[in-house]
């Protein structure tokens, strides 16, 4: 398939891996920010191609994984109401809350529907004027424009039975929280290509400067990721800390301006809780006052609900790159994709789920090992 096959080419991948090995003289820890990149790295075994000195840390960029427990619980409470049609992207349905997941609420009779776009949820609202249609607006800057558009359209078309449960988070504040933590191990970043398609990469310039850390905007295919790693290692070896764009076929410096304008109209920046990490200032979106009528938390009276997270789950440390999934005592035993303790085990983009799916048997059976 065009625009995909050339980025999954064995010869190109091997040439890049050799180039990385050639320029690497010290040990470096590089974090890929986005869950889509984590999935690709583990699926294609990209880290197997890298020299021993390079460690990849898996970042916080999986929207399913960082959505806080209490928001999942709020979703469950709202979805269980008889008047509600609860619409969500597919992989949120299996994320465990305190008392089950959206699948189990659906099995007990709730009307929970998988949609591919928030605008589909808006259509459902238009078709069901007697029901309350709630869309679970999760995700990073990538999904925010479409979610903003749904709210904007609901307002413009006067669709009063539509609302959104907002759980939007932003990448740069999370990167700053990682860099500022005392146990930080990250020396360079592969920034999330699709987030930058929307936002551009200017907002990363001050981060690179302040923390003296190279940031390479990177795509999602194996060759993209290897190129991103190469550029990052090159900077680290040369002592540079700049923002570079590997994913130029999709990302422009200023991003998608109309999308940004719509997001700014509908959302305002607020502090957000991240599952396993805690609250990060200025790290998410809430609805602007003009659109407050579409806030599902207020509409269904769940805004004041709080809950503590499972203490055994180390998802927070995994999301900050401090620990690898296998270092968790519950990994693969008390915590599996069938019975996840935390969200990193749920989404295919979650680091724990990716390791479970592709690496679980590795130590005993696949003598894959890294090349030296």
């Amino acid at each position: 398939m065009k625009f995909v096959d050339e980025y999954r080419d064995q010869a190109k991948a091997e040439a890049l891996a050799q180039a990385i090995a050639r320029i690497t003289t010290k040990s470096w820890s590089i974090m890929e920010v986005c869950g889509g990149q984590t999935h690709s790295i583990v699926k294609y075994g990209i880290d197997e191609l890298l020299p021993q000195a390079i460690t990849l840390l898996h970042g916080p960029g999986c929207p399913v994984c960082v959505t806080p427990l209490e928001l999942i619980d709020k979703a469950l409470q709202i979805a269980a109401r008889p008047e509600v049609i609860f619409c969500s992207f597919g992989d949120m349905l299996r994320v465990p809350g305190t008392g089950g997941d959206l699948f189990s609420v659906k099995a007990k009779g709730a009307d929970v529907r998988i949609v591919y776009s928030p605008l589909d949820a808006l259509t459902i609202a238009r078709q069901n004027p007697g029901r309350q249609v709630v869309f679970f607006a999760v995700g990073f800057e990538t999904t925010a424009p479409a979610n903003a558009m749904a709210v904007f359209q609901a307002n413009a078309q006067k669709i009063p039975n539509f609302s959104v449960l907002v759980s939007h988070v932003l990448v740069p504040p999370a990167m700053e929280a990682i860099l500022g933590a005392p146990d930080n191990r990250t020396q360079g970043f592969l920034a999330a290509g699709h987030v930058c398609t929307v936002m551009g990469f200017e907002e990363y310039l001050p981060l690179a400067k302040k923390y003296h850390v190279p940031i390479v905007v990177t795509g999602f295919e194996p060759v993209d990721i290897l190129q991103g790693i190469f550029k990052c290692v090159e900077q680290l070896e040369q002592g540079r800390a700049e923002v570079e764009n590997q994913y130029a076929r999709s990302v422009q410096r200023t991003g998608n301006r109309p999308a940004q304008a719509l997001m700014a109209k509908v959302f305002r920046v607020v502090a957000r809780k991240w599952r396993g990490v805690g609250e990060i200032p200025n790290s998410g979106f809430a609805l602007q006052d003009e659109f407050a009528a579409y806030d599902a938390e207020a509409r269904f009276g769940v805004a004041g609900y709080h809950v503590d997270e499972d203490s055994e789950c180390i998802a927070g440390q995994v999301l900050r790159g401090v620990k690898k999934p296998q270092e968790c005592p519950a990994f693969g035993t008390r915590c599996t994709p069938d019975r996840p303790l935390g969200a990193t085990m749920v989404s295919s983009e979650g680091a724990c789920a990716a390791y479970y799916q592709y690496r679980r048997h590795q130590q005993t059976s696949l003598a894959a090992g890294k090349r030296s």
């Binding site: 398939m1 995909v4 999954r8 080419d9 064995q10 991948a13 091997e14 889509g36 583990v42 699926k43 294609y44 075994g45 990209i46 197997e48 191609l49 929207p63 399913v64 992207f89 597919g90 992989d91 949120m92 349905l93 299996r94 998988i114 591919y116 999760v138 995700g139 990073f140 990538t142 999904t143 699709h194 194996p222 060759v223 599996t336 994709p337 069938d338 989404s347 295919s348 983009e349 479970y356 799916q357 592709y358 690496r359 679980r360 048997h361 590795q362 005993t364 059976s365 696949l366 894959a368």
Partner: protein
């Protein structure tokens, strides 16, 4: 004083309407309505002696030997999709299960669970495609059953089929017969049925319509057996797709199944749909694809035989069985690295971004 009716006086009496164009509870009552449904729709379509005898069951002559017996229920939604419908599925699914036992499919039963209010035309269409598919698969539908459930207690139409086939060889075709060194042959491209269903169900539109691969598989299987290929295991790649099937075989044989991603064909439009939705084509359902495990020495001949049949014209060798790592499936990726294929915990879920 009674109101005077404007209706002209007639001598008709209030007998039940028997030619309704939708299914009512009376159609399942065992009385005249049900018989009328069978007479008008089912029996003419499936027409054969055991069915026409209207006995409680079918009695048939069979040659001495082993029988294969299987059953499956079909609840697909929507009932009609590009390239097929619940009727084609209900026949091919069961016929293919028999073929995977290495059996020559002989006859089927058909059980219908109809939801009150189902248009009779829908039933007619489904029955017609069952009849057509049965003819193509060289089986007869010799017995059946019809039930009607209250509106809201079904999804329009459910079908169950059971099938009997004759085993005309002495092989044990099963995961336990798989041996280290066996070649793994795949009958064609994968993922089409899964994407076709998802596209209709979710209203997704692609540049070209993706059609199901739904097709009977007995012909190439019987040809392999007739040619004396020592077939060790056969499996059709339905729910869970190629990956799940191979994992099941690796686990039950306690052997290692190694396959190459580059050898597995996925049509360009299926590939594109999977990229957009975040799905893995190796885990998508197929209804007209199978894998055959055969001794390596016979692999080329087996491929030649498979390729002479339209349904397996694009057959390829995708891998080899070895001793270890036991009970695992490994995939050599396009970039040359290896990874384990693991069973998903449920259905694949479309990703957020």
């Amino acid at each position: 004083m009674a109101e005077k009716s404007d209706a002209p006086f007639t001598l008709s009496c209030p007998i039940p309407i028997t030619n309704q164009d939708f299914v009512t509870l009376a159609h399942g009552g065992g009385g005249r309505m049900m018989h009328s449904l069978l007479d008008r729709i089912v029996i003419p379509a499936f027409g054969n002696q055991p069915l026409e005898s209207r006995h409680d069951g079918a009695v048939m002559e069979v040659d001495k030997g082993r029988l294969a017996f299987t059953t499956d229920s079909y609840v697909v939604h929507p009932l009609f999709f590009p390239g097929g419908d619940i009727g084609t599925l209900a026949v091919t699914g069961t016929v293919n299960d028999l073929a995977m036992c290495g059996a020559r499919p002989l006859c089927l039963s058909a059980g219908f669970i109809l939801e009150e209010g189902l248009p009779v035309a829908t039933l007619e269409r489904v029955v017609a495609s069952m009849a057509r598919t049965a003819r193509a698969a060289k089986v007869t539908i010799v017995t059946g059953d019809t039930k009607v459930v209250d509106r809201g207690k079904g999804d329009g139409l459910f079908v169950n089929t059971a099938g009997i086939g004759i085993v005309e060889h002495n092989l044990t075709i099963a995961p336990t017969s798989v041996r280290p060194g066996d070649a793994i042959l795949l009958s064609g491209d994968v993922g089409r049925h899964g994407v076709a269903i998802m596209a209709v169900r979710e209203g997704l539109q692609f540049q070209t319509t993706i059609e199901t691969d739904c097709a009977p598989l007995a012909d190439p299987v019987l040809a392999l057996l007739a040619a004396g290929i020592d077939v060790h295991c056969l499996r059709d790649l339905t729910r869970g797709g190629l990956a799940t099937t191979l994992i099941e075989i690796a686990e039950s044989s306690r052997l290692h199944v190694g396959i190459g991603e580059r050898d597995i064909a996925v049509e360009e439009n299926v590939c594109g749909a999977c990229e957009i939705l975040g799905l893995d084509p190796l885990y998508l359902a197929n209804e007209g694809r199978f894998v055959a495990f055969v001794p390596a020495a016979q692999a080329d001949r087996a491929l030649q035989i498979m390729r002479t049949h339209p349904v397996s014209a694009a057959a390829t060798r995708i891998g080899t069985v070895s001793e270890s790592p036991a009970a695992l499936v490994t995939l050599q990726s396009r970039i040359g690295t290896k990874r384990i294929l693991d069973m998903h915990s449920g259905e694949q879920l479309p990703r957020i971004c």
